[in-house]
């Protein structure tokens, strides 16, 4: 219902005229303009237009006479920003887990697998959220368990962090933009008699939540890597897991993972097709799911599910900030991290200035952080930005191998400060920090093939390689003209 306000014209007019006089009086004349912000960064005069609506802008850190950077580094860094304007072209914004949700792959491989047709592969992409490999078992080094909530096309691949019910930071990618908020997943199995039980996670070894607790029953067992445990768990595997589901003993240091457990195979219609004591080595059927339980989780499955029973696997994604559910339809992708870098144009107070491995700078005393950084955000124009901060790329040798690298980055809060630097005027409103360090990768498609624009920093057998990651975020080809037949 409309409400009529009291009009107070004399107050408004008097105040307005007073304000006008104040603004125009010499005594109240504005101070001299503040000096233009200075910066150690210079923007490339050439903007790389990848396609209509997708550009890559590159900022280089100033180089001193001795070839070093003014910020206590041996070499200057490079800041790259891909801007995606959905009004300028037929563009999509999506995330991908590549061909297999259980495997880590290089960003360039995940983006290549988006389409068999080169012209329909993504225009640009970066690595996604944090993850950990499973520690043991065949091919363990290339496995990937997401650290927090992850989803593609409305299918969850990982639960959120619990964090005392406050959830964890994630970017919900929908309608062509990322929305950064605190997310909490609610996962529940419903058996044939209607009994329900909360399940713990997707697509990782039961008994070993990586990186963060999934509920208040998880206890921390190590910090590097950050690993938790819970001897009573149920974990569901999706059909895009792509690997045989884990066998007992995936982490020799965590007893719960040795539990032989119980396993249930469910078809695409939610009907149980197989139950068995023990677990592992099975491939998830197309459209179906595999449910593994250990401890009391195994007992729940054992007591309630038999072949031909129907089981419902319920999943809800809660926006904790707004106290709303986000419907998980196929327009929803989610990538996660633990930190929001910018919120409504400001650096959140709670953002810490962390670094995984500080080093000593070129002065020999002051620490610097060389963690490369990746961010996903939106700017004042409503456009998505993909950001990487890294060392300058170093070309491979004549055999195509990277025998040198230039690993660099920044402390976490310093990265946010750079993104918010008035001198750079990047005009970013919201941004989330994604996985960094060796995971930081920026791939673009200038004309035909995909190209990596960030240096590899993981060393394997004397060669530097780009890290295999759990997921990627990319600007994709949303439509195309089909040649007349």
């Amino acid at each position: 219902m409309p409400v009529t306000n009291r009009l107070r014209p004399w107050v408004a007019v008097a105040a307005a005229l007073g304000a006008a006089l104040t603004l125009t009086s010499p005594a109240a004349r504005a101070d001299e303009p503040a000096p233009a912000p200075t910066s150690n960064w210079t923007k490339d005069t050439t903007v790389d237009t990848i396609t209509a609506g997708v550009t890559r802008t590159t900022w280089h850190e100033k180089v001193l006479a001795d070839g070093t950077s003014p910020e206590n580094r041996a070499k200057p860094r490079i800041l790259q920003i891909v801007e995606i304007d959905p009004t300028a072209g037929a563009l999509t914004l999506e995330s991908t887990i590549g061909t297999s949700g259980g495997s880590a792959e290089k960003v360039i491989d995940q983006l290549t697998e988006v389409s068999d047709t080169p012209a329909r592969r993504p225009y640009a992409g970066v690595n996604g959220g944090l993850f950990q490999p499973e520690p043991a078992g065949a091919g363990a080094a290339d496995t990937a368990a997401h650290s927090s909530v992850s989803a593609t096309d409305g299918v969850l691949h990982s639960s959120s962090c619990w964090n005392d019910g406050k959830g964890s930071t994630g970017a919900v990618i929908q309608y062509g933009t990322p929305y950064i908020t605190k997310l909490l997943t609610y996962l529940e199995l419903t058996g044939p008699s209607g009994e329900t039980v909360r399940f713990d996670d997707f697509n990782r070894t039961p008994g070993r939540p990586p990186h963060c607790a999934r509920d208040d029953e998880d206890t921390r067992v190590s910090t590097k890597p950050s690993v938790y445990t819970d001897p009573d768990e149920i974990v569901v595997f999706t059909d895009d897991y792509g690997l045989p589901v884990p066998k007992p003993g995936t982490d020799p240091n965590i007893a719960a993972t040795a539990d032989p457990g119980f396993e249930v195979v469910v078809d695409a219609h939610g009907v149980v097709t197989k139950v068995r004591e023990g677990r592992g080595g099975t491939i998830v059927p197309a459209g179906g799911r595999i449910i593994q339980g250990i401890g009391t989780g195994a007992q729940w499955l054992r007591d309630r599910l038999a072949v031909d029973d129907r089981v419902t696997i319920g999943q809800r994604l809660r926006d904790v900030t707004l106290a709303r559910d986000i419907p998980l339809d196929d327009s929803v992708d989610v990538v996660s991290s633990f930190h929001q870098l910018l919120r409504d144009g400001s650096i959140p107070d709670e953002l810490r200035n962390t670094c995984s491995e500080p080093r000593t700078g070129k002065d020999g005393t002051t620490p610097i952080c060389i963690d490369s950084r990746t961010a996903l955000g939106t700017n004042v124009y409503g456009r998505t930005v993909l950001v990487t901060l890294s060392g300058e790329t170093v070309p491979p040798d004549s055999t195509g191998k990277y025998t040198q690298t230039n690993e660099d980055g920044a402390y976490l809060r310093d990265f946010a400060t750079l993104l918010n630097d008035p001198a750079l005027n990047l005009r970013i409103i919201d941004a989330i920090n994604l996985d960094g360090g060796g995971s930081t990768t920026l791939v673009t498609r200038p004309t035909t093939g995909l190209t990596v624009n960030t240096p590899p920093t993981d060393r394997v057998n004397g060669e530097y390689v780009h890290r295999k990651v759990a997921d990627s975020v990319y600007a994709g080809v949303g439509s195309y003209g089909m040649y007349a037949k």
Partner: protein
Amino acid sequence: MTDFRFDLRRGALITAVLALLCSVFYVLPANAEPTDYADCPAATLCLYSGPDGTGVRQDFTDRQNLEGYEPAWDGKILSAKNNTALWACVYGDPAYGGVLQTVKPGNPDAYAPGAVRSHKLVPTRARCFTGYERCPDNRVCTFTEPNGRGAMTVHLPKTDPVTQNYGNSYGTGPMPKSVWNHTQKHVCFYPEPTFSGGWTDKADSKRYGAYVVLRGNSITVPEPFVTSLRSHELVDGTAACQ
């Protein structure tokens, strides 16, 4: 003649005074002592017919998005206070079209007459720039402006009695500038209402027989296809286009 000139002068004077007053109100809204919008309830977007939170007030919760207002209110909003936790997006045209202005959570704003003709509340400012969220599941939706903004048409597909194509023909209806294929099928667009025709790409003179939007994609229609879509069909595979 003299009277006429006198009237003109007086009219000009009145106009000048009004303009001055208006400029005071519109240019300096933050400096005039406002009502401070104290009457705007918590968790509410308050829209006012007067400047600085004066006049008639309409309240909206953070779930009340309006693609248009009743005639007595349409274009009459001169100020707003966003007391919700969301960003308020106000648009110069109905259906989230036209010029966009945004209001940060907790902030007021002032508008010229006619500047506010629809609004919505969104969790992140970037979503002010799109309107795709209106499209229901399992439908193809087309929009009169880029990025899902402006008037939306929700297409309920049917089999054309002549061509047997399963989709929709728009005839002389508005041609889409953006599309969300919110279905499980691919969509093939055509420049003729009869599910036929083609386009020539000016860049390479190649001839296109269909414009394809893959399942699930929401896109702004690019050249040479924009403003020339007259029909579309839904297909399981793009080989079925044309």
